[in-house]
């Protein structure tokens, strides 16, 4: 290329990667390390931190001080964390039940129609999450799209009070991340050799067996990838719990935001973020391990 470029190939590689390393390293990796450090400092009452080491933020996850200044177990935050996991898990299962048959249905279609279906699935995904969640307020809310006709027809007498419930949050989460479940499952189903299904059927497998013994095992990588892609953003979700849970039924994501916006306890917010990050790392390690085991199985078998 030009004279000023490094001569060696490796040198050029690193020069090309330098901007990526610079931006993501400085503005993502370093901030995450600082966040980790902040979680071990003392909070400043007006936001920010004081440079005094402390594990108070992590203690606060499980304990609180009572009137006599004794540490007592406080399940409050633990409950929020548990609920985040439960709701994320529930939403992931709902996405799977909802998404898998559709991914399979699309695989059965002729090719030009498949692309159109995939386009239809990606459209809501690329449109603003905030807007899509806001639309659910109009659907589920008091006097909303579901309630009004039911009230008018006399099927129900009182408001169903669907908003500000865990159910509403679960619906919002499911809706938000559904495409992330369908797309990887579709990607692995697309490679499925349908002759295998016929072979199984010829060998007297019934339809249920064809599904559970052939289709599902073969697209398991897609299912696992989809579940992870849904579970991780659900865990840190902020919009759905805030708008559909009314900010009272907190999840991890909204609890973190609250520490910075209102509570002004930065170390605690940082500690909660570290917890979230640890959960993600655990999930990803699990994923990497299952992928490696699968590769080994294929290699030996």
């Amino acid at each position: 290329m030009s004279a000023w470029l490094p001569k060696s190939a490796a040198g050029r590689c690193w020069l090309g990667l330098a901007p990526s390393y610079f931006v993501i390293g400085i503005f993502m990796l370093v901030p995450m390390i600082i966040m980790g450090v902040f979680s071990f400092l003392e909070p400043n009452p007006y936001g920010g931190v004081r440079p005094v080491g402390s594990i108070a933020a992590y203690v606060k996850l499980f304990f609180e001080y009572d009137l006599d200044n004794n540490l007592v177990f406080n399940p409050g935050y633990l409950n929020i964390i548990l609920r985040s996991f439960q709701l994320s898990f529930g939403a992931t299962i709902l996405c799977l039940i909802f998404g898998f048959p559709v991914a399979y249905y699309i695989t059965l279609q002729p090719e030009h129609r498949r692309n159109f279906y995939i386009y239809l699935i990606t459209i809501p995904f690329w449109t603003n999450l905030l807007i899509r969640t806001f639309a659910w307020i109009i659907i589920l809310g008091r006097g909303g799209v579901i309630e009004t006709p039911l009230l008018a027809a006399g099927i129900i007498e009182h408001s169903l009070r669907m908003m500000y419930t865990d159910g509403a949050i679960a619906i919002g989460l499911t809706y938000s991340y559904l495409p992330l479940m369908v797309l990887p499952i579709y990607a692995s189903l697309e490679k499925l050799d349908f002759r295998l299904l016929e072979a199984a059927s010829d060998l007297y497998a019934n339809r249920l067996e064809v599904m559970t013994k052939i289709v599902i095992p073969l697209c398991k990588p897609g299912i696992v990838a989809g579940c992870i892609l849904v579970f991780i953003p659900c865990l840190g979700a902020f919009i759905a719990p805030n708008l559909l849970g009314g900010g009272k039924k907190l999840m991890l994501g909204s609890l973190v935001q609250f520490q910075f916006a209102s509570a002004r306890n930065w170390p605690f917010g940082a500690a909660l973020s570290m917890l979230l990050l640890a959960a993600v790392v655990v999930v990803l390690i699990f994923y990497a391990r299952s992928a490696r085991m699968r590769a080994q199985e294929e290699g030996s078998g």
Binding site: F27, L29, G144, L208
Partner: protein, 281 residues
């Protein structure tokens, strides 16, 4: 919901024998799925034409709220901020991602390739709220208070992987024989890049730029945390509107933003599809 799983062996009732691998009720399930996917969007657009002050009470058809939204100075300012942030972030992110993708796809196997790939896709794996917190703490620690520039820096960071992926996919799907042919015909490395690689890569770059533009326009959480007063973007402004009370004005603004996103994604779809079909021929 689960009892309506189409997998339940309905074949025994068998009115007509289905081909192997087909299941009764799959089509109905897919219809139900797409209704679920599009119902909120339809409802949102429909209620934006509500003439009433309250979103939920239908008061006749009207476009008053669109007019009101267009005259709202705060919304105009938020739109400008969003456009500035998205444009600048897209330009930087796409340029950085293009160079990175070229190196990773064409640089052969060098040490640190996997690590580099992991680093570039890091913003995709970390939950958004964690990124938001980390960046907020970082800007605070180095006392960087440049208003919109803070927002732009954060956006460039998380847009890089979105620009990177279509570009890398394009590069890996590209036939290298054309580049080799150019080199054989005494084109310099620069000429090969300028006249062969770049034109072939262009659809990938355009697709990557469009994705990062949409992602930046739609980002909410990171901007909410990082943006100070005066650097409010449109999604952050919409959030404050929702918290103040539901009026069809929100629906009107949302509908406009929705159509902008759909238009860009549709354009992206067309670009990447024509690129695909051209690559096949």
């Amino acid at each position: 919901m689960s009892q309506r799983m189409p997998v339940s062996s309905s074949s025994r009732r068998g009115k007509k024998v289905l081909p192997v691998g087909h299941y009764r009720g799959l089509g109905a399930w897919a219809v139900f799925f797409f209704i679920f996917l599009y119902l909120p969007i339809v409802v949102l657009v429909f209620y934006s034409f509500n003439a009433n002050r309250m979103v939920m009470n239908w008061g006749g058809f009207g476009i008053d709220w669109y007019l009101k939204a267009f005259q709202n100075d705060d919304i105009q300012k938020a739109v400008w901020n969003s456009l500035i942030v998205a444009t600048v972030a897209t330009i930087f992110a796409t340029a950085i991602a293009t160079i990175g993708a070229l190196v990773l796809a064409r640089g052969g196997n060098f040490r640190g390739k996997t690590v580099s790939l992991g680093l570039i896709t890091l913003p995709l794996m970390v939950p958004e709220i964690v990124t938001a917190v980390a960046v907020l703490i970082f800007f605070n620690a180095i006392a960087l208070k440049l208003g919109l520039i803070n927002v732009i820096i954060a956006h460039i960071t998380f847009c890089i992987p979105f620009a990177f992926m279509p570009i890398r996919a394009r590069l890996e799907g590209m036939d290298t024989s054309l580049e080799q042919a150019a080199r054989d015909l005494y084109a310099s490395e620069w000429e090969t890049f300028r006249y062969v690689t770049m034109p072939l890569l262009m659809p990938g770059i355009v697709a990557g730029a469009m994705l990062s533009f949409v992602i930046s326009m739609d980002d909410f959480i990171i901007t909410l945390m990082v943006a100070g007063a005066g650097s409010t973007t449109l999604p952050v402004y919409i959030y404050s509107m929702i918290r103040r009370g539901l009026t069809p004005e929100i629906n009107a603004v949302c509908t406009v933003l929705l159509f902008v996103s759909v238009a860009i994604v549709t354009a992206y779809w067309i670009v990447s599809k024509t690129a695909q079909s051209r690559a096949v021929h």
